[in-house]
Symmetry: D2
Amino acid sequence: MAEKTETTPGWLTPEELELTRARMPILYVDAVPVRVDGTGVVTHIGLLLRIGADGAVTRALVSGRVLHHERVRDALVRHLEKDLGPVALPQVPVSPQPFTIAEYFPTQGVTPYHDPRQHAVSLAYIVPVVGDCRPRQDALDLVWFTPEEASSPLVQQEMSGGQGILLKQALAHVGVLS
Amino acid sequence: MAEKTETTPGWLTPEELELTRARMPILYVDAVPVRVDGTGVVTHIGLLLRIGADGAVTRALVSGRVLHHERVRDALVRHLEKDLGPVALPQVPVSPQPFTIAEYFPTQGVTPYHDPRQHAVSLAYIVPVVGDCRPRQDALDLVWFTPEEASSPLVQQEMSGGQGILLKQALAHVGVLS
Amino acid sequence: MAEKTETTPGWLTPEELELTRARMPILYVDAVPVRVDGTGVVTHIGLLLRIGADGAVTRALVSGRVLHHERVRDALVRHLEKDLGPVALPQVPVSPQPFTIAEYFPTQGVTPYHDPRQHAVSLAYIVPVVGDCRPRQDALDLVWFTPEEASSPLVQQEMSGGQGILLKQALAHVGVLS
Amino acid sequence: MAEKTETTPGWLTPEELELTRARMPILYVDAVPVRVDGTGVVTHIGLLLRIGADGAVTRALVSGRVLHHERVRDALVRHLEKDLGPVALPQVPVSPQPFTIAEYFPTQGVTPYHDPRQHAVSLAYIVPVVGDCRPRQDALDLVWFTPEEASSPLVQQEMSGGQGILLKQALAHVGVLS
């Protein structure tokens, strides 16, 4: 569904996207939404809640494709708005330097990241949000976790494709990994 | 003068500070105040305006010491508030990773940075400010420059101790160095 | 020509690549080859020399696509070996964090980077090389410049597509931009 | 003992250092020695082994003060040579940007880092070493661990002052935290 809304003239049809996914690495952005205190310390991390077809709970980062002729910054804003709603007020980083690159391979084990659909290379950013988050689209909810909770086995096992590890890398980058 | 206000029990007297400066590297923070647009692009850089004893115009970054038992984040907030006023609303970075380290040597030419008073090692951060800036203490004004203006020879020659180069490094880090 | 050698089963034919370039951002890596002294200070930057059809001298960074199912690290090594020869002994960075992201747009002015063929998003790395460089393929030579020379107008005007600015960002990142 | 060898004219006597430690943050460097494969992937982390007065095994990173009028790079090289011996061939990072800042407080709980002797602020770097390591001074041995071993509870509990967390941050930065 998400892909359809992204299809405008000059972009890919679902069939073309399918074909391209088998031939090229696809550029993504991953965003870790965080709440911070007045000195920039991360106090909470926001994870999207989804219920799978099998009823399983899945927690996910904000994530999505960068489109043709779209700046990475604009893709970040677009996906944050799509997933967190229009009044989340995300503070997009001033530097294009991501805190890491997550390489999702269709084959397991090449990297810690896995996406059965495609080879996706994702630029990962930490994004403070200061407004109200109202998840839209296919997410049921956005839940805020403390850094301790976010790196706990309980939350980690509810994340898939290696996003739990990406989350821990984010916690390490902001200095709150325990 | 500035040093006096920082002297509380357990910290250094001006004489002790003088002595220590001749024996140890002193830890500093440098902050580059910026205005950003809605996608995080830096549109303006704020520089403090000072008039020297000889009437010369000097432009400077927000800069100052980290005190004993003070977190780097708290030092950043303290110096930003001291130099930009209480309603500047600085967004202190979520990561402790500075964009660079500026090593100010009392001897010229060891690094691009120079401070005749001391060997100072400064952790440099870029800090978006979203509120009103009202310079206090010894600064006359805070002037906002576009990235082009900030890296122009005119502004560069009004900065001292290598801060012009540090400013260009900041512009490079956020992708607006021309 | 370069593209042909990259076409293996499962990858794109030149026609498919052409089509995809009009529809998707293409993932690239840019590498800035450097010589360093014993303490890690960059002393020289290596630029490829090419002569255009019109006889104009062009200087370029090591640059190229990331292929399907190829790790970014392997793409870096492949392009470094392709452009610098098999005994350059590049020291690929230990962290996947690039020093910046260069977004090359087919339209001028969106970012400082421009590629008339495509929308390319490039992960940019600084790579010390300790061996002998023997350019292959379409480059005539690899020339080593001091940081001052590399950021001089003379060298900058021989670089195209914004790579001169990317080079200056690299110099800033390693602390040798003047 | 280590401090004495660092005392030359213009530097601090042990008594002065003691006094200063109670009044100023002291600048340190932390280095995480690593072995890498040909594509820059970290395969092993080197930890110093020390036996405490009580017979307890302690594992530590390479760590030490930055002296007056000493560049951070030179301090890194000096401490690496002191702890790993003269033929370790460390590859000091080209960028002064550390992967994080570790703030060791004399009071527990302010940050994850703790040093009962002082308030130390440490610039943390990951340093590939390609030569032979022969620990000197007070370390008994240097032991190489895989990333999995390094982040295991067994190794983590043998590290003190929060260095286990700093090590995990380093693993996260190079993309091998599991």
